[in-house]
Amino acid sequence: MAAVVRERAGTEAVTPSRRRPTGAFRRRKGFQSRKSGSRGNRALFLLMLPGLGYFLLFHYGAMAGNVIAFKDYVPFDGIWGSPWVGLGNFQRMFQDAEFWDAVLNTLWIAVLQIVFYFPVPLALALLLHTLTWTTVRRFVQSVAYLPHFISWVIVVALFQQVLGDTGLVNGYLGDAGLSTVDIIGNPDAFRPLTVAQVIWKDAGWGTIIFLAALSQVDEQQYEAAAIDGAGPWRRFWHVTLPAIRPVIVLLLIMRLGDILSVGFEQMLLQRDAVGPEAAEIIDTFVYYQGMVGGDYGFAAAAGLFKGVIGALLVYAANKVAHRLGEQGVYK
């Protein structure tokens, strides 16, 4: 700290060793120990290699395959033998109505999730937070987190069993003489269904971060507000909400950055049942064009497009979140 002040004051006479006495002292000691710095470094470097090798091969090596987005890829000719088409795949993509349908669907579903899913973990966290009986709270939390660890295959199967034509809900409605609901397999009900599925699966897990934020709110602020005569609603509005607002904003921004990524597995599992008009997202478009349709170059172009735009969005969201975070500190 003193060194910083000296720097600010503009004195040039601060030598490195004076600026950080403990560090230099320790480092000199370390170099004199039996395992010298360079030997230690080599061992560490070796430790890095398996993991590094994985990323180099299966991420960067795979990324090189994106070059087929600019080619007319024919499996027989391989990556090198296939002819270049420059931006041809992209041009075709931008003119493809199904592509734009997929983009629109992706955005639509993402927005629905932000509006309807996003508040649920928050509400649940608030509810759990006000619970003073810890055994009950921990029990409910345990139950609520569980669906997060269940695979989407199981989740979709469960929803089929409960909401399907021969499912639990329709069974009860039928017995009660009421008309049955047509949810599973109905394209018009599909978007709300997917939001319900995401809520069921991930809302509990989403409470973790909100609960962590809520637990950091100063108890004394609540008491002070109560003494001033604020009822529970006012306390929520003036103490709780401002305290967790940074977390909410941060999560919202990150979610917006991720907007092109809507549950691929979730959509793929149900696309056959409801049809592409309802269920096609960019990722399933890539899958069906490439893996099923064999139009690898074209699909790679769509995937590359989504990857680049997605990366830009996430990067931008990160930057915005950083800025706001810094502002929050100064407040």
């Binding site: 039996r34 230690g40 430790l47 960067y60 087929i68 609520a144 295959v153 199967a157």
Partner: protein, 286 residues
Amino acid sequence: MEKPRPLTQAAKAVALVAVVLLVCVPFLVILSTSLASPEEVVDNGGWVLWPTEPTIQAYRDILDGGIVTHALGVSAGVTVVGTLFSLFCTVTLAYALSRPGVFGGRPVLLLVLFTFLFPPGMIPSFLLVKELGLLDSYGSLIFPVLINVFNLVVLRGFFQSIPDELYEAARLDGAGDWRVLWSVVLPLSKAALAVVGLFYAVAYWNSWFYASLYLESDHWPLQQVLRTYVVAGSGLTDTATSEGTVNAPQTVQMAVLVIATVPILLVYPFLQKYFTKGVLTGAIKS
């Protein structure tokens, strides 16, 4: 502060009960239907809330050999082997990246974090797996997804939180980095290792898409079999049981579902125990 009004208390209770029921009832229905006799299932219109005459015939049928048994073996094998490989590579990389002096540490970290921003993409990954000759091999379910960046960051953060004095002491005793990792760091990291290990295990157990992409159907793991047989509702080329089945397919389908879910339920308490120790919340905050 004032006592909460009974109306609010009641409303809260209702909400909590609703949450618990919403999660538990579907599982109960699946379990019950799998244990019911096929006649009862048919009578009830396809599902059962509580079986009157429970029978484990459905389970006997699918565990008798045949596709489900094989898929169960595949899933178990991929999960165990995959988790071990993943843990090894993640721990070594995370440890190396957590040490300040490592050669090339900063570029490697940026390299790794960038992959989080820009994943390779389905088609290029497929081509790579094909080029490497991994098609229709179990390795294709493990190697392309070996390290999860989030898990890596969590472990790295945890290793960094170990006090420097412990590292220094081991170093002065003449231990090289491997020894420090093995004898000092790992024993201290049991909770973090458990959490990350379980995360990997759950991910491997739940995976189905890559199997559908890279494997022939006779090598499929359980979740992909589940998807074809239950979600998509189509029959497999062989029967799900070892012989022709007398059971209503519904009970068998539900039994497959239960088997796919049970391992998660079994490890869940352990997962809970370790990450409520605050390992995760600390990492998430950073």
